[in-house]
């Protein structure tokens, strides 16, 4: 019974700490966007804020318990002072959505509580988690047995919530991944601003049912990238590329994308692709675009220096031999074999994660039904093309090609699929299926 109560309490903790330090009122006053921030938008930005605080805390070797107690206490005080605008104050419609939100979270928490087994990757990520859990120095990350160069933020979050859970059990640390994921689905569907709550709930449930993969909650980091990309896509949806841009918003989007660099190595590629194309699409002067691009690249350099000189290791798991790639490119037999294998495994991945099928169908329907794309759709389509090109290229260069296709292509597809949910929603909007 204590464990069950602890699970409920963990959900309460998430609700409290992610209601701090921003409220819709604060955000709307500061960003002065045409489209206003609501509770779920604010909640998501608070999560991004918290992730950055954790990133900083991880380098400062703060005691996990002390750090958490301070943050939780500040959040509680903040809610008490801002009760009227906090997430705990609802109208009737919101309450119905909120109940489903709670139920989905609790159900997945129980699911993990019963299916405790960690996946292969999870059993290695936990090595890093233990370093933080034991309040050891961050430099020890460079000594772990498998992939020491992988970013550590996911492991830090895992350790933080594990250490500060009521029962202090390992799987409580992974609840953050669940909460992050569920918030992201609610966030993206909420962006439709549907008045029909039944329809909204149906769409939420649909996306949950087709994107829930319990194996990926077994210590894998894929959901962190998946969810943060959904967050970023939601904020991008709020932008009107034709108008003058609020720079605070641009930084919010770039910083949301930047979190990917700290979850997994490939997150860096997503950050650079999605971030730089985003900058190019903005309605700003060329000089500003150059400055923003420099800012984006400098964020990568910051990561490089922190990993190389503070943690003591910066590397990528796969060494690419250009001469080998070139020799394979000119050999038609190898080229065709590799392309066909990648295509076959891509199809398998699409069946495993059917969200991709729906995304691709939406793209096809976009091309068939809409003659002129707006800038938003163009942006996501270009990202999609480059994303697929990246996946094809990176797998082409892998030395253990067949093995990697079997164990990681599907997960790579899954990671970024969240970013393109907007294509489905924009399509539904365009064909006027979703009447507000």
């Amino acid at each position: 019974m204590t464990e069950v109560l602890s699970i409920f309490f963990q959900l309460f903790i998430f609700l409290v700490i992610f209601s701090f330090p921003l409220t819709p009122k604060i955000l709307n006053n500061n960003f002065s966007q045409k489209e206003k921030f609501n509770f779920i938008d604010t909640h998501s930005i608070n999560i991004i804020f918290f992730i950055y605080i954790c990133l900083i805390a991880s380098f400062l070797n703060f005691d996990l318990k002390l750090f958490f107690k301070i943050y939780f206490l500040l959040s509680l005080i903040f809610i008490l002072f801002n009760y009227k605008t906090s997430i705990f104050k609802f109208n009737k419609d919101l309450l119905k959505i909120f109940l489903i939100f709670l139920l989905i979270n609790i159900s997945i928490f129980f699911y993990i509580g019963q299916n405790l087994k960690l996946g292969w990757d999870g059993l290695h990520w936990i090595e890093k988690t233990f370093i933080f859990f034991n309040n050891e120095n961050i430099q020890k990350l460079s000594e772990v047995s498998v992939h020491p160069h992988y970013p550590h933020l996911g492991s830090y979050l895992w350790a933080l919530f594990w250490k500060n859970s009521f029962s202090e059990l390992e799987y409580f640390g992974r609840f953050f991944y669940v909460y992050f994921y569920v918030v992201s689905i609610f966030l993206i569907v909420n962006s439709l601003k549907l008045k029909n709550k039944f329809l909204e709930l149906s769409i939420i449930l649909f996306f949950i049912l087709i994107t829930f993969d319990p194996n990926l909650f077994a210590g894998y980091q894929e959901y962190l990238i998946f969810s943060s990309l959904i967050f970023a896509s939601r904020y991008i949806l709020m932008i009107n590329f034709e108008n003058k841009i609020n720079y605070k918003f641009v930084f919010l989007i770039l910083l949301t994308l930047y979190t990917n660099c700290w979850f997994k190595d490939e997150g860096l590629v997503y950050f650079l692709i999605f971030g730089i194309i985003f900058i190019l699409f903005l309605n700003i002067s060329s000089g500003s675009k150059v400055l923003l691009t420099i800012f984006t690249i400098s964020l990568f350099i910051v990561q490089y220096f922190l990993q190389k000189y503070v943690i003591g290791i910066f590397d990528f798991p796969q060494k690419i031999s250009l001469s080998l790639i070139f020799s394979e490119l000119v050999n038609i037999k190898i080229l065709l074999t590799k392309i066909s294998k990648i295509l076959i495994h891509s199809l398998i991945a699409f069946v495993k994660y059917p969200l991709w099928i729906i995304i691709l169908l939406s793209v096809i329907f976009h091309f068939c039904t809409i003659k002129k794309f707006n800038k938003k759709i163009k942006y996501f389509l270009i990202c999609l093309s480059l994303n697929l090109l990246f996946i094809f290229t990176i797998f082409f260069t892998f030395r253990s090609f067949d093995f990697m296709l079997k164990v990681s292509l599907d997960r790579m597809f899954f990671q970024t699929s969240g970013f393109y949910i907007v294509l489905i929603l924009l399509f539904l909007k365009d064909i006027k299926l979703l009447k507000k």
Partner: protein, 141 residues
């Protein structure tokens, strides 16, 4: 029935249907029952096995009995399952002269002793703790 014009009673029914779908999809009642019925260690053992599969139960027993966190330990799971050193903060080492050696799910024929099996280096070790076919061995000083 128009989707946009559900009154409160109908919406309550729809909400109930959603609740049931979610509970069924995530198997929530059973998961709740399981968490209430078996404690964390029991559930871990159900998933990983005591002295079978990954043998989580054996790791747990020897970790509680002996202080293994300080030493490098060679670990072999004869069934080929992934080893769980990271779950117990144990440092795995593949060399043949570690202070401790954990052998899990050892497969032997007839009355063959573990010391006459395929691991030659095992002669340098003595059995410190055994449960079925799982062994914690300590190097002879």
């Amino acid at each position: 029935m128009q989707l946009g014009k559900l009154n409160n009673k109908k919406f309550f029914l729809v909400l109930l249907v959603f609740f049931l779908i979610i509970l069924k999809f995530f198997d929530t009642p059973y998961n709740l029952y399981s968490i209430l019925n078996w404690n964390y260690n029991e559930r871990m053992e159900q998933k990983y096995g005591n002295c079978k599969n990954e043998s989580w139960g054996f790791y747990k027993t020897i970790s509680d009995k002996f202080n293994l966190e300080r030493d490098n330990i060679k670990i072999i799971n004869e069934e080929g399952h992934v080893t769980l050193e990271n779950l117990f903060n144990i440092k795995k080492d593949n060399s043949n002269d570690t202070k401790y050696f954990i052998l899990l799910n050892y497969k032997s024929k007839n009355n063959e002793s573990i010391f006459n099996g395929k691991y030659k280096f095992i002669k340098n070790y003595k059995i410190k703790f055994r449960e079925n076919n799982c062994y914690l061995m300590e190097r002879n000083d």
